[in-house]
């Protein structure tokens, strides 16, 4: 994926997920909400669809977008889990580094923390 597009678009796509989580919305209704073209909004919706976070359904002339709350909460839960794991590791790393300067003399029998 184009990284720049991704970086600029993050807030818009989160907003699309939120709006379409309250009930399905057509792409044209969404396009009215953002200062961008119908095509640009369609591109954001396509990214979300590829990621499995929304589904799209054609009804007459409209394309209706709906957020898949289960997919969003699964992704959220998995990333929360990963975050908790790494926060714990970073805290332990910081504590080990603090031992270098502080507590070497507290445990003379063990020698310096290395």
């Amino acid at each position: 994926m184009d990284q720049l597009f991704h970086a600029l678009a993050d807030a818009t796509r989160r907003d699309i997920l939120r709006r379409c989580g309250r009930g399905e919305l057509s792409v044209s209704r969404l396009a009215e909400a953002y200062p961008m073209s119908f095509a640009a909004v369609q591109k954001h919706v396509a990214v979300l669809e590829r990621a499995g976070l929304v589904s799209k359904e054609r009804r007459g002339r409209e394309q209706l977008v709906r957020t898949d709350p289960d997919a969003v909460s699964r992704a959220r839960a998995a990333l929360d889990e990963l975050e908790a794991t790494w926060r714990g590791r970073v805290d332990r790393m910081a504590r080990l580094l603090a031992l270098d300067s502080g507590q070497e003399t507290d445990n003379p029998t063990r020698g310096p923390a290395r």
């Binding site: 979300l48 990621a51 976070l53 699964r74 959220r76 998995a78 926060r87 970073v90 580094l97 603090a98």
Partner: protein
């Protein structure tokens, strides 16, 4: 707190964490490169890690087990894809069965970089779930039970 920022990308299932440490880059690198030091931070205190193999070269492996309070062993492994001491390390991070065979638990790819920053070290860690299917299996296995949220909670879910 050492953690300076966290970003979670739902579309690419990526966690990006930035942490600042009050130590030189070489010293922080040792936390990764010395297996005895790695053991002291990789697992939670109740599940201390024992590192067996530790070969930080491209294609090399790290293997370890974590011991539960009841004495059960949980095995894990890294496959090193890139390494540039003392600055960066990239590896696939997975779990294994009791005999060391990689299990079907989800793998993540971690990309870790160290920079000199403000007289200390900035660590940037990016961790990506390698497949959405695996990640969803994990979620469905109940590890995340209680976290499933109704549509009405979508706002809280997406705003922080």
């Amino acid at each position: 707190m050492s953690v300076t920022s966290i970003d979670k990308d739902f579309e690419n299932l990526t966690l990006t964490l930035i942490a600042d440490f009050d130590a030189p880059v070489e010293r922080v690198w040792q936390l990764w490169a010395d297996p005895r030091q790695l053991e002291r931070w990789w697992g939670p205190p109740a599940y201390p890690a024992t590192v067996e193999e530790h070969d930080l070269t491209p294609g090399g492996s790290v293997t370890y087990f974590m011991t539960s309070p009841e004495g059960e062993r949980y095995r894990g492994w890294w496959r090193i894809s890139a390494v540039n001491p003392p600055k960066s390390l990239e590896f696939v991070d997975g779990f294994a069965d009791q005999d060391g065979t990689p299990s079907d638990m989800p793998t993540t790819t971690a990309h870790m970089q160290l920079f000199t920053h403000d007289g200390g070290t900035r660590m940037e860690l990016r961790s990506v779930f390698d497949s959405r299917e695996q990640m969803e299996q994990l979620a469905d296995m109940g590890m995340t039970e209680g976290l499933r949220l109704a549509v009405g909670q979508m706002d809280a879910l997406l705003t922080d």
